[in-house]
């Protein structure tokens, strides 16, 4: 009987796939939009794309010349795209959203910095129309300023002497002494700086031989970050709840169109009918989870490192989502009322579980007291860990927890629905 009912429902879903496709498309579109908003290289190393900004060098000294050159070369050039402009032109381009920010090196910056006569300031004008790139530049500039400050504190007297050199006032002998002294200081500092005692690697390295083994590092290095991969699990968890509601609503549709009543004229026991709807919900959610996580993963280049674990977690989560939405559907009679109620709860649970925003960014109360109890958060976090954490992920407990919870809720829902239908109260 279960097979007959399930085959009928699957055939109907296949013949009328639009409601399913809508809920499948929305999370994929959101992932694509958000991922694209952060640049087409979101799957690359930086996840940000190159940051284009202007440098207005009003000082135009040999030192600022060195800084300009450094910003556009080698490693920095991979992430940064500085353009050197007049202030007016740069401001116009910021307003036109062509630049993320403009950095002004004020006149007299080199002299004041080297001599220490006056405190020096670098000016950063951020593009208010952008959020992430200006923020990154601000952080980078803070690092540069801290570095310059450290240099000034440790090499204060020496730097004053270099000012004379930059102004062409020192004789060659004096310049040679300064270069030799700077070389000595660099050599002395090198033993402290190289190799770094704490570092990280973006790619797992080949096992080192004993002769070439480096000093111990803080970790073996996390897998590369993938913004699409970060977004996909949370959104999939949230929209699987909506899809679960769509499956459960079919029971209410059958009540509205009279097929449930007709079933009751043929079969006395309603349990097979309710159970078949639950199984149908789980089967549909499994198919949808496969499309969302498997298809979405292929689409966005998400490399699931442990497909078996992802599949097991997804299957357990599908059981939970079906049971949870069935339970919500059983609480409220009437298709429209139940639909609205269940969708609001699904959205609230989805958001509180980190479906749309990272859980760390949620308000304190939610983050500390609600989110940790939500199975969609367990699911999302486990997939994130499987994707990005180099450490082994204990996903078995999470899978069993979701499975047990889902089965329990499904049992409660079946009991309540059957009671309501037998009393003629409607689905």
């Amino acid at each position: 009987m279960l097979r007959v009912l399930l085959a009928k429902d699957l055939r109907r879903a296949w013949r009328n796939p639009l409601p399913w496709l809508i809920f499948l498309a929305i999370p994929l579109v959101i992932v694509a939009l958000i991922g694209s908003a952060f640049g087409s290289r979101a799957t690359g190393d930086s996840g940000l794309g190159r940051i284009r900004f202007a440098v207005v060098d009003e000082d135009d000294s040999p030192l600022t010349g060195l800084l300009r050159g450094a910003a556009s070369q080698a490693q920095a050039g991979k992430y940064l795209e500085p353009v050197f402009l007049e202030r007016a032109v740069a401001e116009r381009q910021v307003q036109d959203n062509q630049l993320s920010a403009l950095l002004v090196i004020p006149r007299g910056f080199t002299r004041d910095y080297l001599t220490g006569n006056h405190p020096v300031k670098l000016e950063l004008v951020k593009n208010p129309a952008q959020s992430l790139h200006p923020a990154v530049l601000e952080e980078l500039l803070a690092v540069v300023v801290t570095g310059l400050d450290v240099l000034k504190r440790h090499l204060g007297p020496e730097l004053a002497a270099w000012q004379a050199v930059f102004e062409g006032q020192g004789d060659y002998r004096r310049v040679a002494e300064l270069i030799v002294r700077a070389g000595d200081q660099w050599t002395a500092a090198q033993s402290h700086l190289d190799p770094l005692r704490v570092t990280y690697a973006k790619e797992p390295r080949e096992p080192a031989t004993e002769e070439t083994a480096p000093l111990p590092t803080a970790s073996t290095g996390p897998p590369p970050f993938n913004l699409f991969g970060f977004l996909l699990p949370g959104l999939a968890a949230m929209f699987l709840l909506f899809l679960g509601n769509n499956a459960v609503s079919d029971l209410k549709r059958e009540f509205q169109q009279g097929t449930l009543a007709r079933t009751r004229t043929v079969r006395q026991r309603l349990f097979p009918f309710v159970a078949a709807k639950l199984v149908f919900s789980v089967v549909m959610l499994l198919i949808c989870a496969g499309i969302l996580l498997g298809g979405g993963g292929l689409l966005f280049g998400v490399a699931w490192r442990d497909p078996g674990a992802v599949a097991a977690l997804s299957a357990s989560y599908c059981v939970f989502a079906a049971g949870f939405m069935c339970f919500l559907g059983a609480l409220v009679a009437g298709e429209e009322r139940a639909d609205a109620f269940a969708n609001v709860i699904a959205m609230a649970v989805g958001l509180a579980g980190g479906g749309a925003f990272p859980a760390q960014q949620l308000p304190g109360f939610l983050r500390d007291y609600v989110t940790p109890w939500l199975p969609n958060h367990w699911f999302t976090k486990s997939l994130h860990d499987l994707l990005f954490s180099p450490a082994p992920v204990a996903w078995g407990g999470v899978a069993v927890g979701m499975l047990v919870l889902g089965a329990g809720l499904a049992g409660l829902a079946a009991w309540r629905l059957q009671r309501r239908l037998e009393k003629g109260q409607g689905a």
């Binding site: 009987m1 007959v4 079933t263 004229t265 043929v266 006395q268």
Partner: protein
């Protein structure tokens, strides 16, 4: 006609496929069905005739187990429904008033599904579906999805889905609502054929013509009460014969009970300001009756003699026109 006598119930139970005794059901203060009793025998089409809201669907819902009666008993094929509901359900086929089918599935798939649900094996359900599609003249559209069918075709599939398991008792709840006369005629012809194999049919309708032309016996129900039942001839007999007289004219001041000798010779079936419908008491010659009516102390513009219809019976029982 004794509608609730225990003696008659015992007599009928032995031969009837459906025996309904003193069925009652209330929805809050509304008494939807009150003390309804009737039987349906093998090979018989029993019509439950009444206007919308009369209690026909509520009665049928209690018979097929969709609603629990507040009081009364339903016996199907000699067994109390409540003692073994699944057995009773396996004996009956129910055609609901609404088209309770899956629009995404084809006609054949719908038939096969309801056959499987009724307990048929896959092959048997397929065979029966093919037979019914042929009988309902739907073979050429069997593979099309139901949403592409006309209203009449959907009604035919709706009917067929209750017949897959060859039920002995068929309950039809207004199966011809909302379809054109041709489609209705096809369905009525099909229903007539169902009794040939000995099936009993309970047919609810508010169409007088259907009840008159289709049903062997008719129960007239209104406001939840079964007012009368019997064959068409028996019901007509309630009016005093096979003819009624319709008097037309200005009858605003008329006082039929006060006319000398009127109450002994005629029975008023319906009266309005411009029309008076009466039946003759006893089997008197129509010509004599006509002369007596023309001699009444009222100015009559026209007198018509006609065969009484079920509507006249309904009028006499309720004071209302069934078509209102």
């Amino acid at each position: 006609m004794d509608l609730s006598g225990a003696g008659r119930a015992l007599r009928c139970a032995a031969v009837s496929l459906l025996d309904v005794q003193r069925l009652c059901r209330a929805f809050g203060p509304l008494r939807a069905v009150e003390d309804v009793s009737f039987t349906v025998r093998p090979g018989e089409i029993y019509g439950l005739l009444g206007p919308n809201g009369a209690g026909k669907t509520t009665t049928l819902s209690m018979i097929c187990g969709l609603l629990r009666p507040d009081a009364g008993e339903v016996r199907v094929d000699g067994h109390a429904f409540s003692s073994d509901p699944q057995r009773a359900k396996s004996v009956m086929g129910v055609v609901p008033q609404e088209i309770a089918l899956y629009e995404e599935l084809s006609g054949r798939e719908n038939l096969e599904f309801w056959g499987r649900l009724a307990g048929l094996h896959r092959a048997e359900a397929g065979r029966r579906a093919a037979e019914l599609l042929e009988a309902l003249a739907l073979t050429d559209r069997a593979r099309d999805r139901l949403k592409t069918y006309s209203g009449g075709m959907k009604r035919r599939v709706n009917l067929g889905c209750a017949l897959l398991h060859r039920p002995k008792l068929i309950l039809l709840d207004e199966p011809t609502v909302g379809i054109d006369p041709q489609a209705r005629a096809n369905i009525l012809e099909f229903v007539r054929g169902l009794t040939a194999a000995g099936s009993a049919v309970l047919y609810t309708t508010h169409y007088l013509e259907e009840a008159e032309s289709l049903c062997h016996r008719i129960g007239i129900i209104d406001h939840g009460r079964l007012l009368a039942e019997g064959t068409l001839a028996e019901l007509r007999e309630r009016l005093g014969g096979d003819r009624v007289f319709v008097l037309e004219g200005d009858l605003r001041q008329a006082d039929p009970p006060g006319w000398p000798g009127f109450r002994d010779r005629f029975r008023v079936i319906q009266r309005s300001d411009s029309q008076l419908v009466v039946a003759a008491v006893g089997s008197r010659d129509p010509g004599v009756c006509l002369q007596e009516l023309l001699a009444l102390p009222v100015k009559v513009e026209n007198v018509t003699l006609k065969r009484p219809t079920l509507n006249d019976v309904f009028l006499q029982l309720t004071g209302r026109d069934l078509r209102e």
